[in-house]
Amino acid sequence: MSNPILPMNRPFPHWTIVLACLALIRPVLAQDELSQVPGYVDFSELTSQFGEAPTLEVNIKGQLLKLVAEASRADDPELADLLLELQAIQVRGYPLRRAQFRSMERRSEILAGQLEADGWETVVNLRDFGQYVDMYVKQNATAIEGMVLLVLDSEAGETVFINIVGNIDPQEMGRIGSKFTTAQLEDITP
């Protein structure tokens, strides 16, 4: 993240006050109904924690998600039905260099701690050489209402955070997802 650079011949030391006031204003900003949904995780903190902008960012929610569901119906009715049960899909990806693995691991552990404190349950904690996978779910009495996947993969050189919000059947999601490729996601619109 870049810092504002002040010319040395303008001795105005009050930018810290500006930043502090903006930080206080922040709770007023971005009032979003989705933030009230139990299965939702606010990823806006991640950028500040990781100190750089994500190289991959997906935010699909609300009416756009419904449109996507209908757009997929002709080719893949199962996918359409699955998407209609969801409220949001969020992804954040950050580059991961080998030297950063340990520090990224610590930051992910902080996020994991926050999730557990918010009532998320651990489904998977995988610690393999150069790979770190955590999956969490939020459940109500009858269904899973949110899922979070955290992946650190030093071989692929990436850190990926995924939050799926809505009525989730993980097995069905895995089965339907197995049809799709994970080749590099490129913007298909210029």
Binding site: E57, V58, N59, I60, K61, G62, Q63, L64, K66, L67, D187, I188, T189, P190
Partner: protein, 157 residues
Amino acid sequence: MFGFAYHFLGDREEAEDVTQEVFIRFWNHRQEIDGGQPIGWLLRVTRNASVDALRRRSAYRKTITGDSGRVDIAHGDTPGPARDAESNDFRTLLNLAVDRLGEPYKSLVLLREVQDLSYQEIADTLELPLTTVKVYLHRARKMLREHLTEVMHREPY
């Protein structure tokens, strides 16, 4: 300039905004611009401004939620004489295929086929070698053909 921006962005209002910005920039930099080649400068800046406008639209795209109940699908203008349904479908598919082209292919197609510029004029506008323009245009047209062939075989034509 308005015509290029309109076809690039598919939106009349955005095209007006881009055209305004381009001519204001032209006014502000009028002393520096080569007096004999203002059209090339104008087209180039229009194209760059259109690409920027599309990127800004794309950045906002990721937080589109729509309002409480109603979502509109933005349609490009389709005026002109009435066409039969099959022709409209082909036109729609073609517009989508052109939109899918990355840069500089989309600009090349619009400059050549819609704005009717010569290869040399396109090369001057985009500051590309003439041979590169020809190669890129060939690729762009081929991509359009291949995409439309694939889509039309899937559609109930």
